[in-house]
């Protein structure tokens, strides 16, 4: 049975970037920053592609909210194999409720069978949008989806999807990373999944994929055209770096280390 899945592609700083707050303390310095698709969203795109491959075809619709720069991340998802890209054009602050509101409207238009988001965006680290969206849609939620097999396993090498759909597509089973172990959660479809790191290892886009993605159309909306209020309810009033840890020392050997731990740090 073909399946239609909605995924996202948030634009974030590359995880290896050195983030520096600007002198005004109200943003970060743009110098030398590289931008990528949020790693958790990339895992979401990969899982959607695997599910579609396993279930005899379907569609993967990728959405991003932001300035025109997000086309780069949308095209990255298209190059991986997503079938359609949707851009919500917005400049300025956004909060989780706005993002979830826009995604809700797109879902109402596209009517996917399920959605896969990242568990958190690695810039804001909020870990909220998926849960808001699931509540507003009235869907089940499987946050922090993972799998039992490692990323070095045979299941991973054969690109088996970790999320399991029942034959009638009425329920989805996910393995979740919870405190103390792994939980198996059975969800009524439609389901909103958020990805954890061990769900899969995303593929590299193929050269033909990259070429094809360049000319694919991108559907455009705005929060206003979707009927979503564009006022942010979260204001960042200050940004600063945390105090640096005071510089430590190198010890020459174990005897010196144990001595420091006993007499100076007093922790053993």
């Amino acid at each position: 049975m073909p399946i239609k899945i909605l995924v996202t592609a948030k634009r974030v700083e590359d995880y290896e970037s050195k983030i520096k707050v600007n002198p005004a303390g109200n943003g970060i310095l743009p110098d030398g920053l590289k931008y990528k698709i949020n790693p958790f969203d990339e895992i979401g795109v990969e899982e959607a592609l695997r599910l579609v491959a396993k279930h005899g075809g379907g569609e993967v619709v990728v959405v991003s909210v932001g300035t025109k720069d997000v086309h780069e991340q949308l095209r990255h998802a298209l190059a991986m194999g997503a079938t359609k890209a949707v851009w919500v054009n917005h400049t300025g602050p956004l909060d989780q409720m706005m993002i979830a509101g826009c995604l809700q409207k797109i879902i109402e238009k596209e009517k996917p069978d399920m959605a896969i988001l990242g568990k958190q965006a690695i810039d804001d680290d909020q870990n909220q949008v998926g849960q808001y969206l699931a509540e507003w849609l009235g869907w089940s939620q499987a946050t922090f989806a993972s799998k039992e097999e490692s990323l070095e396993s045979e299941a991973e090498k054969s690109k088996t999807p970790a999320l399991k759909l029942s034959a009638d597509m009425k329920s989805l089973t996910a393995i979740r990373e919870v405190d103390g172990g792994l939980e198996t959660l059975e969800c009524t479809m439609p389901c909103l999944v958020t990805t954890d790191l061990r769900l899969n290892q995303p593929r590299y886009a193929s050269l033909p994929g990259i070429m094809k993605a360049k000319s694919k159309p991108i559907e455009e909306h705005t929060p206003a055209s979707l009927g979503v209020s564009a006022t942010s309810n979260i204001t960042i009033t200050k940004m600063e770096h945390p105090p640096a840890r005071k510089a430590g020392i190198k010890v020459p050997d174990i005897a010196a280390l144990v001595d420091k731990l006993k007499t100076e740090a007093k922790v053993i």
Binding site: Q96, Q128, L261
Partner: protein
């Protein structure tokens, strides 16, 4: 007057999670500034016993919502029940500990309350009322942001390492209520594969010994040192990705955040994503064979050595020093 509601994580065995006591302290800090009452809510099949435990910690009222549909602490059923009690007591702030369960359910409660939310708060700042703000980490803790939530109700999860555990402080009142059953439940826990360990819980341990890719998956010496020190064992992402250790042991931006008295990192390079989960530790020891490894920048004591040689020596020296 702005009331604060703490949503307590119900565990399958009905016991109290220490993280709840950290969240209660965050609630107390808000109440101290805004002058409201501190409430808590326990949602479970049988909420009474846990509510009785929670009431000892300086909480004015603990709402005990018992219902068969709350057998599992899943977001689909916890969110409506949590929002119901928040509305009933006119809570202005609703929060939980930033545990995996808290991270799962709290935004869904916020969504129901049309409330904005700050995740993983580190502190409560500002004077009172509309001025009250939260500090929280961004970009793996490279930046601390001060944020103001503009909705009538405001939600948060509290990072456990940043708020001391609440102490016992006079018994509050327990009020039972019957949460309305949803039309149908959407989620069912069908299995739980527990990471069994005789060691202390990672987030509660006084000492943590962590291994990275440098172990090549051989944790024998990490385990042995941990046992000598009565410590918990942790790991970097590289170790969990390879399947060498359970995912539950990952420390960092996207794993667990720990702040023990002593953190020993062996064969871990010190990527910012790992540092984000352990830099609050009182004393950090790094053992790495590469003198340039970034982990040494946050270590109080660094030893440039092969971990397979250093760890057995350290264990012997710790034993001798006892």
């Amino acid at each position: 007057m702005s009331n604060v509601l703490i949503v307590v994580e119900a565990q399958p065995d009905g016991s109290l999670r220490k993280a709840t006591l950290n969240a209660i302290t965050a609630g107390k800090q808000i109440v101290a500034k805004t002058g409201g009452e501190l409430h808590a809510v326990v949602l479970a099949k049988d909420a009474g016993a846990l509510a009785n435990t929670v009431k000892e910690y300086g909480v004015k009222v603990v709402h005990a919502g018992s219902a068969a549909h709350l057998t599992n602490f899943t977001a689909d059923v916890v969110a409506p029940a949590g929002a119901e009690i928040a509305t009933a007591i006119k809570a202005e702030f609703v929060g939980a500990a930033a545990t995996q369960a808290g991270r799962d359910v709290m935004p869904r409660i916020a969504a129901r309350l049309k409330a904005a939310m700050a995740s993983e708060i580190l502190g409560v700042v500002g004077s009172s009322g509309a001025d009250l703000q939260f500090t929280r980490p961004m970009w793996a803790g490279a930046v601390i942001a001060t944020v103001k939530l503009g909705t009538a109700i405001k939600c948060f999860t509290a990072r456990t390492t940043e708020f001391p555990m609440a102490e016992k402080a006079g018994a509050g009142e327990v009020k039972a209520f019957a949460p309305a059953a949803p039309a149908k439940s959407l989620q069912k826990v069908v299995a739980f594969k527990e990471v069994k360990s005789a060691r202390p819980a990672l987030t509660e341990a006084k000492v943590v010994v962590s291994g990275g890719r440098g172990t090549k998956g051989d944790f024998k010496e990490i385990d042995a040192l941990a046992d000598e020190l009565g410590a918990a064992v942790g790991a970097s992402r590289a170790v969990c990705d390879a399947g060498w250790q359970p995912n539950d042991l990952q420390i960092g931006q996207t794993g667990k955040v720990v702040a023990p008295q002593l953190y020993i990192a062996a064969g871990i390079s010190g990527a910012i994503q790992h540092i984000a989960g352990m830099k609050g530790s009182k004393t950090i020891v790094a053992i790495n064979k590469d003198a340039e490894a970034p982990i040494f920048q946050v270590a109080d004591y660094g030893l440039v050595a092969d971990l397979f040689k250093a760890l057995p020596e350290l264990r012997a020296a710790v034993k001798a020093a006892k």
